[in-house]
Symmetry: D2
Subunit: 343 residues, 4 copies
């Protein structure tokens, strides 16, 4: 069993790490920190974890974290970058679920996140935590910057097309929709049930923080700069991201169904559905799977890719554990094989 620490455990990604690690066969959570809730039993904040997690939230303590084999940061952006250097220096590995180490272009990060980066020297050594793209590098990494929730769905949906070079990279569109848990557990009028339920809206249509992260990933896949239009929407559901991708095939004769099936044939958590399918977010509820379907409208060179994932699992904590499994040479699906909960 490896020893796991979690920094910032009161949010939904922290709670999801706890839920998943509670049944992980090779990992034990030994400390979980929260400045605001120090001393409070985890199960008081998350009664679903009663009987499964006996820890109380602790004040952040470098020594305690350094005694772990790996520390997850489930903190808002800007927090990990100030503490990670010290932890890495002790030899403990770090998996950051925030945006702190995802973007290699530091001025670009600073522009979108409105602050000076506190550990720019670490950015280049961080490995981007999307196993389907970076499996080998993740396995060897000390610092993993987990892919974001929207970025995971967009990148997995475009990857086969970009790697095959059969789509016009200058005009990619990602129309995404996320459950409200993506906004975190902050008190916020806009995310009250009375505000967000029985309704639907786009937001940040003119530009969203995940845009530069996605563009960086797609550019890596394509080997050249891409042009992406990204519009996120807010779904009146708890969990789940659905992304609808639009691209123009440069070679309309390509068999996109085969392309996707071959690309992901060996992936444990990417499931390409049969031709004609439409994935539903509920099929991945609480699970680490990403389900994808590809469509070709008649009389058109358009390709439409439909992608679903659970934003808290494959879009965050499940993916972080998948990275952990790789970093510690465990079976990649250890603790992650439970099916989605339907209905």
């Amino acid at each position: 069993m490896i020893k796991v620490g979690i920094v910032g455990g009161t949010g939904y990604t922290g709670a999801e790490l706890l839920r998943l690690l509670a049944v992980h066969p090779y990992a034990d959570v030994v400390t979980i920190t929260s400045r605001s809730e120090a001393g409070v039993p985890v199960s008081q904040l998350y009664p679903n974890l009663r009987g499964a997690v006996d820890l109380s939230f602790a004040q952040p303590d470098i020594a305690a974290l350094a005694s772990c084999d790996v520390v997850f940061f489930a903190t808002p952006h800007g927090v990990a970058q100030s503490t990670v250097p010290e932890i890495l220096a002790t030899g403990t590995k770090v998996i950051d679920l925030s945006a702190d180490f995802r973007i290699r272009d530091i001025p670009l990060w600073e522009q979108w996140y409105g602050q000076t980066h506190a550990a720019p020297e670490l950015v280049s050594q961080a490995v981007y935590g999307l196993p389907e793209m970076n499996r080998t590098a993740i396995a060897a990494a000390d610092l993993v910057a987990c892919a974001g929730c929207y970025p995971t769905s967009v990148q997995l949906g475009f990857m086969p097309l970009l790697q095959a070079g059969c789509v016009d990279v200058t005009d990619l569109i990602a129309n995404s929709a996320s459950g409200v848990s993506g906004a975190g557990r902050q008190a916020n009028v806009a995310n009250l049930l009375s505000e967000a339920s029985d309704s639907f809206k786009a937001y940040a249509a003119s530009g969203h923080r995940h845009l530069p992260e996605i563009e960086q990933g797609l550019t890596d896949m394509a080997g050249k700069p891409v042009g992406l239009t990204f519009v996120p929407h807010l779904l009146p559901i708890n969990r789940g991201i659905h992304t609808t991708l639009y691209g123009n095939l440069t070679d309309p004769s390509v068999d996109v169904q085969s392309l996707f099936e071959q690309c992901y044939a060996d992936e444990p958590f990417v499931d390409v559905l049969p031709a004609g399918s439409h994935p539903e977010t509920r099929t991945v509820r609480g699970s680490n799977y990403c389900r994808i379907a590809v469509h070709r409208p008649e009389n058109s060179s358009k390709v439409i890719v439909l992608v679903v994932e659970d934003n808290l699992t494959k879009g965050a904590s499940g993916q972080a554990i998948q990275c952990m499994n790789l970093m510690f040479s465990m079976p990649e699906d250890a603790g992650l094989s439970a099916p989605g909960i339907v209905p």
Copy 2:
């Protein structure tokens, strides 16, 4: 007061006609038909109408319908076309909420709807019921074919751009999402709460029946054939359509905000939001308003249009009443001015 008949009143658009007409100052519903529920009080099926609607469902009867000033057809496609000729012959006006008379190209209609059209001679005299496009013709019409729910949102969202000729008509994308009431009141496993709630999916991604209707309308607006990609999605909400449109501006210098504001300045039911806004479906819940916002992502020639409407109101029964008001020279907003219900 004019006398109104409704054919096929057990579905949601029939019930919505009743709800709206119950407070209409100039119209009285005098008969409502349903073969399956004949004899049953309307308020038994729709207890929300107790005290507001005293009618019982009646067997369809041409004489009773002919005694009305106007008859609404709130029936599945294929029904209106077999009865409308007889009713029109008596001098009674008809407003059809189904798809029967929307598409001028009869073989195209027959291809998408899988049946022979029973009254093709009426199609050319039917006026397409989208007041923002056809106000004058509707006012003079005897037979109105009300615009569909998705088509209303897509056409109102693209109209200013197409009429101004500032968008590439060969590559239009409509990413739409509808509440479940759009699927009607039929028993159907896929629309059970346990199947559709807390989830989201696309459907008919390779082609949907509303595509030819929308293409016809956009072509009329553009004055030349358009290329449209249309992907509908199912929202886990009762009412509401949200459409996200993507186009490429041929003239990126155009002020799209002004364009939309001017186009809809005099429209009673199209509300262009201030720049930077994101309309929510709940703001039009139960109302006849359509709210629109326009966005321009940075460093891009893309234009993004966000459109919301209530699929049962502006997308169906409200629009039908708006047409009726025009046809009988009543104030266009008579009975339709109630704001959306929030929260």
Copy 3:
């Protein structure tokens, strides 16, 4: 047209007053106050009211309020009591939607609300705003203390039984469930969609602030002290209260269906359903109706009463307008006759 002022218009009951008064034939809202949002157009906070309400929130101003015929207080408890005396002194009538003037026993009020009452002298002259109980007194009142949301449902459900004296008053049970809008528009983690949706719970099972208000009303009806057990629950819906009442009939031979039908025969907003019915909250969504059904389980002296209302309408703003209509000799249902929105 009478002139209406609203104090504290940013919450849901303020917004509901605006929505309902926007289509009221005899009342105009001329001022609406909010300290926190002064200067902001109402329609910016509530885009559903765009086109219907042109006012901006104003700083509270006694002169402006005094120029109104009636002022509604849609404020948290404790606010109205400090301003109402001054307004009443100018001859303007007041309808308070908060709990400030509902409880005649001032020490009891102070105990449950944890503060000293600022205008105890007004409490005895306030008329409790439940028209079905106090119609005549309301019509003559200068100050109305509107009944609370839960209390309205419990009192209307028990009233026929208590007035007929056929139920054991020492053992009354009210099991209520409310939509989340009952908690208001405050940022609060517990009411986030991610916390409250797809879930259900009781709260305040050991004692809730509405208990003394309900007991006072039931005692008035019974003519003797009652013993009430009241457990509220939180429903994952926007609007709606459903109350299930349990009582023991002292005379099991009574025809409870007739009793209820006769009691409410002339009430414009209380609808007794046919025997065997089960009212749904959605049938009163957005409307001022209260629907009631009565059941008698076999082999038992129990009577079960099922009551539904919209907590923001009959449970708050609709009832307040019903009181206003009575106070100004308007038709009691003026502006309140719209049916509930289904689906």
Copy 4:
């Protein structure tokens, strides 16, 4: 590994058995039957099980079922009774999730279920599958009649009080609310999202089929006949039952919190919350836990018990697996220890 068969696998309890057994360490599902879907891969109906369940639905076949160690019946009432005798005769154990063998009084069963019982001789040898009540008998049983969803919550909530003899057994009230999945996966207008969402109602207030089952269990616990009033309600959620119980303490000095804690101290799946708590259904979503809180309103002899469970897990398939674990001397929580999914 034991070999498991499932009869009637297309419904929600069948799918839930598959989901849970997919990660069970000691059991393999080897056959699953469905007349209507024979030949269809399970994962086509339940895409969440793609990658976890490779079976296709098979025609019911006694030989195939007899080769299993245990067969679960996840069928509508009336089905198991005609096949179970044949299977038991082969030495294979049976766990029935339907109501067929729950009620010992056969005429009573026949009255509530409107049919003649086909295997009355088996009823007396069936063990009622509520482990907290019948653990030893279940371990020795060949035929287990799993407790129903509502009955589990009501019985677990009243058991400590009845066994201690401190509550008036002649006046017990159970006010329950269930998610829509309790109604199964049948096409049914009343359970459409557009009918059941954003709403709440009671049903069967005058008498529900679970009443005799609950009364039998409570009578066993009390050692004398009980009087129960039971009113079920329909929640607009997928999963979850919340039951609010009301009783009158015959000995108001009893410490009910301690009573409950002691009664369930050794139970793996019954979790008594700290005094003052209110359990939420979401905390048991997808898990086999039942969470209970007890309240005593002031100045009253009432005791209020709040119980939550997942109707498909502890209320059906999880409980069935818990019984299986007992019957095959496996750890009682094998395959059932995953925490509830929050949010």
